[in-house]
Symmetry: C2
Subunit: 294 residues, 2 copies
């Protein structure tokens, strides 16, 4: 199966899990379920859930139901996008080529839709039947910690906001990105490992892969903001520079940033060595993260 076919199949799997867990657009109160679905089903690449699913497959042959775990990562990711796009934060009108949630549903509903997606992620973990309760506790902890203030996504977002306009500092840059996008990407791998019953060594290896793939992802994200158009990205390009964000191109320049992304890709590959051919897809996903154009 080609990578393209594989990705299409995984996306369908993730979308079908999301569709099962998110209340129907006709379920009252309709307006918030419509807002949640508007942002969830907006053509996202599902990178986090696919990494989660593939981590599980790298460890085990029995992965039925892993998509239920995986979709919680997309719920968290989507909530963070909705809140990040709000006027009080990044104030963005465009996301995945469409008006942002608050442009369609208003700010109040966008705030509540984000809250609801965040809450739903934990409700799904509480209810899914394909894990035992020890795994469930670990999954809730991974997801909450990766999303939280101490080394997690919210902490990175705060440092990002606070860093605007500050001199481009390499240490601050790395701490922002490890937290803001790295923690949830790493959690994607870890949650797949936990689902599959990975031993400590496999968990650590997948976690290490996640760290490098996550950093590569963010470096490339910063580069795309500089190098691509809004039309190509489906979101406003050139925003980082306009907001004086601390980014990899701002700190290291474009050429060196490309080299750094390539280095992280190779380190991600190296982390997978113990898995041999079982990790072929994960290697392809690391390549894709670095080579993507949007």
């Amino acid at each position: 199966m080609s990578l393209k076919e594989y990705l299409a199949g995984q996306t369908r799997l993730v979308d079908s899990a999301l569709n099962r867990w998110v209340p129907d657009a006709e379920a009252p109160p309709r307006i918030i379920h419509r807002a949640m679905r508007y942002s969830l089903f907006a053509g996202g690449k599902r990178i986090r859930p696919i990494l989660c699913i593939e981590a599980a497959r790298t460890v085990s042959d029995e992965t039925a139901g892993v998509e239920d775990v995986a979709c919680t990562l997309e719920l968290i990711h989507t909530y963070s996008l909705i809140h990040d796009d709000l006027p009080a934060l990044d104030n963005d009108d465009l996301r995945r080529g469409r008006p942002t949630c608050h442009k369609i549903f208003g700010e109040a509903m966008a705030i509540l839709a984000g809250d609801a997606l965040l809450t739903l992620a934990f409700q799904v973990l509480a209810r899914l039947e394909c894990v035992d309760d020890r795994q469930r506790a670990r999954l809730v902890d991974e997801l909450a910690t990766a999303s939280g203030t101490v080394g997690g996504m919210i902490g990175g977002q705060v440092n990002d906001l606070e860093g605007e306009g500050k001199p481009p500092d390499p240490l601050l840059l790395e701490s922002i990105h490890r937290a803001k996008t790295g923690a949830l990407l790493r959690a994607s791998l870890r949650m797949g490992a936990i689902f599959a019953g990975a031993d400590q060594a496999a968990y650590d290896a997948l976690s290490c892969f996640g760290e490098h793939a996550g950093l590569a992802f963010q470096i490339v994200d910063d580069l795309l903001d500089v190098e691509q158009s809004s039309e190509q990205l489906g979101k406003t390009a050139g925003k980082d520079a306009a907001q004086h964000k601390i980014t990899f191109p701002a700190v290291y320049g474009v050429e060196r940033s490309h080299a750094m992304a390539e280095r992280e890709r190779l380190l991600a590959h190296a982390a997978l060595e113990r898995f041999g051919p079982r990790a072929a897809r994960l290697r392809e996903l690391a390549d894709l993260i670095v080579q993507r154009k949007a």
Copy 2:
């Protein structure tokens, strides 16, 4: 011990649990931990956690650690207040007699602080050591469901926003309040019951108590908004009428609303019959909910 002494002791117990679980004000990123603590330690009455603790004590003599479970209800409640007070929602400058979170820390940080408290609630449930993993799964489910869109707090908030300016309809009123405040209050009792290993009958009885006490709480909340001053309430009074909210006094008038609150208080008492004297404090708490002046 007098009720006043009892409440002071319980508040200290809850505050000490919150203090242990919420990152220190000096932990980076400091700004968000300061914002979270500003709203958490603002003199809240801790009604939800105290109901949770007392529900556990009504069922069992071994309740050490229940305050860790209980404090997650206050994390959720506080996040909901921070987000409700935002300009895009209720646009309130005053809460518990102090400027609201976004007035001090700005809108961006208030949004993120709310997100962080919501996330932390589930992290605490994932990590607390005083329950087994089956109980933990049930606690996560209770808290997420009570906070969610379908019959939960966010759903109630959406219906409340959507109801502004609509004709005062008794059915809409009850559905708003059952969800907006009732669900989390009922969850407080249920989570205490789960912690204490209650059997189904005890869980149902405490749940029934929570429903009636929760409805009484909201009726009285609506009445206080009409009858008390902003100074007495520590938040803006008269707001419901100004925003054309659907409230109990608006639908039934003040006198009939008082009678309804009293009826709910008696139904709450009746739900506790099977517990005999063990439930004395819960009865006092139901009385307090109806008789409070702020």
